[in-house]
């Protein structure tokens, strides 16, 4: 036999062997859905890196009930329309467990499809309360709610005893939801909300808004939304010499805001989940991330890791890969995870989740504020 033919035969034999092996051990597909591209892809990176790490480590430990986890990644660009499309793709691909989505406005419409098609979803990042308000059986999250995060921010502001505060949002489910929670808490706490106004996500010109904020002469500005817009507002505000202190939710707290706002990001207040990567029991995991050259400090890295781990733990507790039985097991059990002990209420929300106020610096670091 001449060499090229030999090579071909070997190749065919190998591929048959590989295919055979694929059939021998069944696999459990975990769909990971989040933004790989688009303006908030930075958060998607955190989500994918956390979920990949969890899948790798669980497989290295022998998988789940002897089966291997396989991560299948989907890009939803944080666009509700795209989220629905990929949710349907996942149905076709036979995915029965999803870690995602990231933006609340994507999670909401996609979860309708998952619930109908019997797919279990754990979102590591969507904080909008409405997602778990609809009595769905298969929806869980590994993060707190805007109705917890908003009051943390508002109570901090109240403790600073300001005369008046302006609340701005980007009119999207996440931004407006959290801005509303902040406004309501501020008003209950007797602080005047001088302005409550929406901007358009994706807009670049905030000169009119900045002028209005200067006119309103408020002590603090709270912004509900993501970093691309707040970065520009901060920068344009500083250029117009408006030196009010700004505050935002975890959607603004990542290093991309520094490339947009530069020096203007110094002193921004952000509510974030506590730094799970600084907890002592997570140091071994943190090291594993660092060996891969990845940064575990982003707010959604370990929540995504936890989402995968919960799916795996749920499957083992239920001794079944049926999403309904896994959901049942998740509601009943108590799980030890990198973000702490997780217990679910009947809606699929965690019984407790803490948010902390941080001060952001122009070099991308943050320090906790008391």
């Amino acid at each position: 036999m001449s060499t090229p033919v030999k090579k071909l035969v070997t190749a065919i034999a190998t591929s048959i062997a590989v295919m055979g092996a694929g059939h021998a051990t069944a696999e459990i597909k975990i769909g990971i859905a989040g933004p790989m591209t688009g303006p908030v892809a930075q958060y998607g990176d955190m989500q994918f890196s956390g979920a990949r790490m969890a899948i790798e480590r669980i497989n290295a430990d022998g998988g789940v009930m002897g089966e291997e986890l396989v991560g299948v990644e989907y890009d939803d660009v944080c666009d509700p329309k795209q989220a629905v499309t990929i949710a349907n793709t996942m149905v076709n691909d036979g995915v029965r467990f999803v870690v995602g989505h990231l933006c609340s406005s994507s999670t909401q419409p996609a979860s309708d499809i998952y619930e109908d098609e019997g797919i279990l979803m754990v979102t590591p990042a969507s904080t909008s309360p409405e997602i778990t308000e609809r009595g769905y059986e298969l929806v869980f999250r590994t993060i707190g709610l805007d109705s917890m995060q908003g009051p943390v921010a508002a109570n901090y502001l109240i403790s600073q005893d300001p005369e008046s505060v302006a609340v701005i949002h980007d009119k999207q489910q996440y931004g407006e939801g959290i801005a509303t929670a902040v406004r309501d808490t501020l008003e209950e706490g007797g602080v005047e909300v001088a302005m409550f106004e929406g901007i358009t996500a994706g807009a670049k010109d905030f000169s009119s808004l900045v002028t209005k904020l200067r006119q309103a002469d408020v002590d603090y500005v709270y912004y509900g939304g993501y970093h691309p817009e707040l970065g520009l507002i901060l920068r344009q505000a500083r250029q117009a010499e408006l030196d009010t202190i700004f505050m935002g939710p975890e959607g603004v707290g990542n290093k991309d805001i520094n490339t947009i706002a530069g020096e203007a990001a110094e002193g921004l207040l952000v509510t974030l989940p506590p730094s799970f990567d600084e907890k002592e029991e997570n140091q071994e995991l943190v090291q594993a991330f660092e060996e891969k050259g990845e940064d575990p400090s982003g707010p959604f890295v370990l929540t995504s890791y936890t989402a995968v781990q919960l799916i795996a733990d749920g499957i083992e507790a239920a001794e079944s890969t049926d999403p309904f039985e896994v959901a049942e097991a998740l509601r009943e059990g108590t799980f030890q995870t990198p973000i702490g002990t997780v217990e679910y209420d009947s809606k699929g929300d965690m019984e407790s989740f803490e948010f902390v106020v941080y001060e952001w610096h122009s070099d991308g670091s943050k320090t906790p504020v008391n």
């Binding site: 591209t37 688009g38 303006p39 892809a41 930075q42 009119k171 106004e197 929406g198 901007i199 358009t200 994706g202 807009a203 670049k204 010109d205 000169s207 009119s208 808004l209 002028t211 209005k212 200067r214 006119q215 002469d217 691309p228 970065g231 520009l232 920068r235 344009q236 250029q239 117009a240 010499e241 991309d256 490339t259 947009i260 706002a261 530069g262």
Partner: protein, 307 residues
């Protein structure tokens, strides 16, 4: 007094934005005036101009050049050259082969080009917002120290001045130069101009090149003014500039200028006195009103049916 200062400030904000809308709108209006098609890829040309300028600025800074005028001039030239060649290429590839066909065909071709360019930049430059260095800082302030002050930044002055200079040069070019005269002839009657020995293909290419160069100027100015760029920002700006062109009368160059300024001021007054949420409602509402009551736009001439 306070209220007056606030009004003046919003007026300045609006005029700044408006003049850049006008710069972009020129591209739409000239192309429409000459071949009667809407170049929907124009917003992307503007976006590419901004990216090129940023790359040039970053490169020059890395080389250790800090003299501001030199950086600006080089960035501007790079942006204009790249955008212009892009405008020229887009016309050759996507519009010339389908010219003279049913008018929907170049329209679809333009939309396809716009999607292609957006995704090309996505791939080449990444999809994130990139910060644009603020090269021109500082400004003048008016009003009492402890109350509301009207400020006009050097950046805003630069934008006005550049727009004004560009518009003046363009008007002189169209009314005085040989190519300008040929442009007007082609716009009045393409077939006839062809018969009279004008190389109409060259004139049409020139139109695309001029429009793209002005869009590049707008790209550099707005990149510096706003502070960040992303591959999708040409789309919204293009839409606004298109609205400005229609508002002023599509096909008319002074109309594009007027339309841009009106749109900019309307937007900033809406967010200043009503709410930022209604900004786009007002600008597109204005477009609908104009189309209903004066379909040719403010300065547009009604099309005379030639028999």
């Amino acid at each position: 007094m306070q209220d007056l200062l606030y009004f003046v400030q919003q007026l300045i904000n609006g005029l700044t934005i408006g003049s850049t809308y006008a710069l972009i709108a020129i591209g739409y209006t000239m192309v429409y005036g000459i071949i009667g098609m809407i170049n929907f890829a124009h917003g992307e040309i503007y976006m590419i101009g901004a990216y090129t300028a940023l790359i040039a600025i970053t490169g020059l800074t890395a080389l250790g050049i800090v003299w501001l005028p030199l950086i600006l001039v080089v960035a501007l030239l790079c942006a204009m050259i790249v955008s212009s060649s892009m405008g020229w290429a887009v016309e050759r590839v996507a519009y010339r082969p389908v010219r003279g066909k049913h008018r929907l065909i170049p329209l679809i071709s333009a939309i396809g080009m716009s999607i292609f360019l957006q995704n090309y930049v996505h791939l080449a430059q990444g999809s994130r917002n990139i910060g644009f260095p603020a090269l021109i800082e500082g400004g003048f302030r008016f009003g009492a120290e402890d109350s509301f002050q009207t400020s006009i930044t050097y950046m805003q002055i630069t934008i006005f001045a550049t727009t004004l200079v560009c518009m003046t040069i363009l008007s002189l070019f169209i009314s005085r130069s040989r190519i300008g005269r040929a442009c007007r002839a082609v716009s009045q009657d393409l077939g006839m101009a062809n018969l009279l020995g004008i190389d109409t293909n060259r004139i049409i290419s020139a139109t695309f090149v001029i429009g793209a160069a002005l869009a590049a100027v707008a790209g550099l100015l707005l990149g510096m003014y706003y502070g960040s760029i992303d591959p999708l920002f040409g789309f919204i700006a293009g839409l606004k500039a298109f609205t400005a062109a229609v508002l002023g009368g599509i096909g008319s160059i002074p109309g594009a200028m007027l339309g841009g300024l009106i749109l900019g001021v309307a937007e900033s007054m809406t967010s200043g006195y009503l709410s930022g949420e209604y900004k786009d409602v007002v600008s597109f509402g204005l477009l609908i009103l104009i189309l209903l009551f004066k379909p040719t736009g403010l300065l547009g001439k009604p099309e005379v049916e030639k028999i």
